[in-house]
Subunit: 138 residues, 2 copies
DNA sequence: TAGAGGGGTGGAGTTACTCAAGGTCAAGTC
DNA sequence: GACTTGACCTTGAGTAACTCCACCCCTCTA
């Protein structure tokens, strides 16, 4: 499998895959006799995993640690711990999203209230009273 | 309000606040006669908003655009559109988190299955059979 | 008066990409 | 057979958003 396919199937960009290889996340990728990378199904499984972990902001260093650990079959505890820690991190991100969504909902409701009258019909806001609470609404 | 308080109350670091000011997100922060920044309640509201938007990865440029728009009272549509777009982005992040959580749950279950027998008791894994499916589990 | 604590500036360092320049090679076209 | 095209290669520079550091100023307390 060549790099363009690996990119398409993993959701990563070609540049990112090359970058990950240089960073040592994906050790010893095979090369064809033309010098092109040849990705194995196992490489692809790693890439897909990287994509999910990075999409949720696990640092590359941690991923690297995980990859190195997985060369040692006695490292199940440590690898499990890394994943479990990241699961907690996901909870945290979840909370951030919820908080931000609350903010957005509130602001958007506010903007709606400026252009819609109370029967739900749109209203051209030609005159705008200088109401201090709304005049400088962020 | 001085910068340390603004940091404590906004959840941003002192360095980040200074960086945002330099970037033009927080224009004309007042200064005391000692040259120290003096943050108004309005500044703090902005900082809190920045914190939430950044925690969910809205680019600084977009935030900057929003801030600039909010100096023009006729920009409600545009500002609303920015927030709405980010609300969609939150859905996307939500999906990423869910996908990653599924991955983590599966992997962690796998690790559990390696150290726990089927009655739920822990088992010291002294001998490890060379099972190809599990031996190279990522 | 010495030192600690909090603020200021400018600039370098970090993370994780992302892009551009220039080079090789195989396949298809004239 | 020359040529173009397209996919790949490497190297190195650029970017976003911080983060850290060195060094300076001021004020307050021991």
């Amino acid at each position: 499998m060549k790099i363009s396919e690996a990119a398409a199937q993993s959701g990563l960009s070609i540049d990112t895959i090359r970058f990950y290889e240089r960073a040592g996340l994906l050790p010893r990728v095979e090369r064809g006799q033309d010098g092109h990378r040849v990705f194995s199904p196992r490489d692809l499984r790693w890439l897909r995993m990287f994509e999910r972990l990075r999409a949720t902001h696990m640092p590359l260093k941690v991923i690297q640690t995980y990859v190195e650990l997985s060369r040692n079959p006695d490292s199940n505890e440590e690898r499990r711990a890394i994943l479990e820690a990241h699961r907690l991190e996901l909870d945290h991100q979840q909370a951030q999203i919820n908080a931000c969504r609350a903010l957005l909902d509130e602001k958007i409701r506010h903007y709606d209230s400026l252009t819609t009258d109370h029967n739900g019909r749109m209203q051209k806001t030609i005159q705008r009273p200088n109401h201090p609470q709304t005049a400088d609404h962020q």
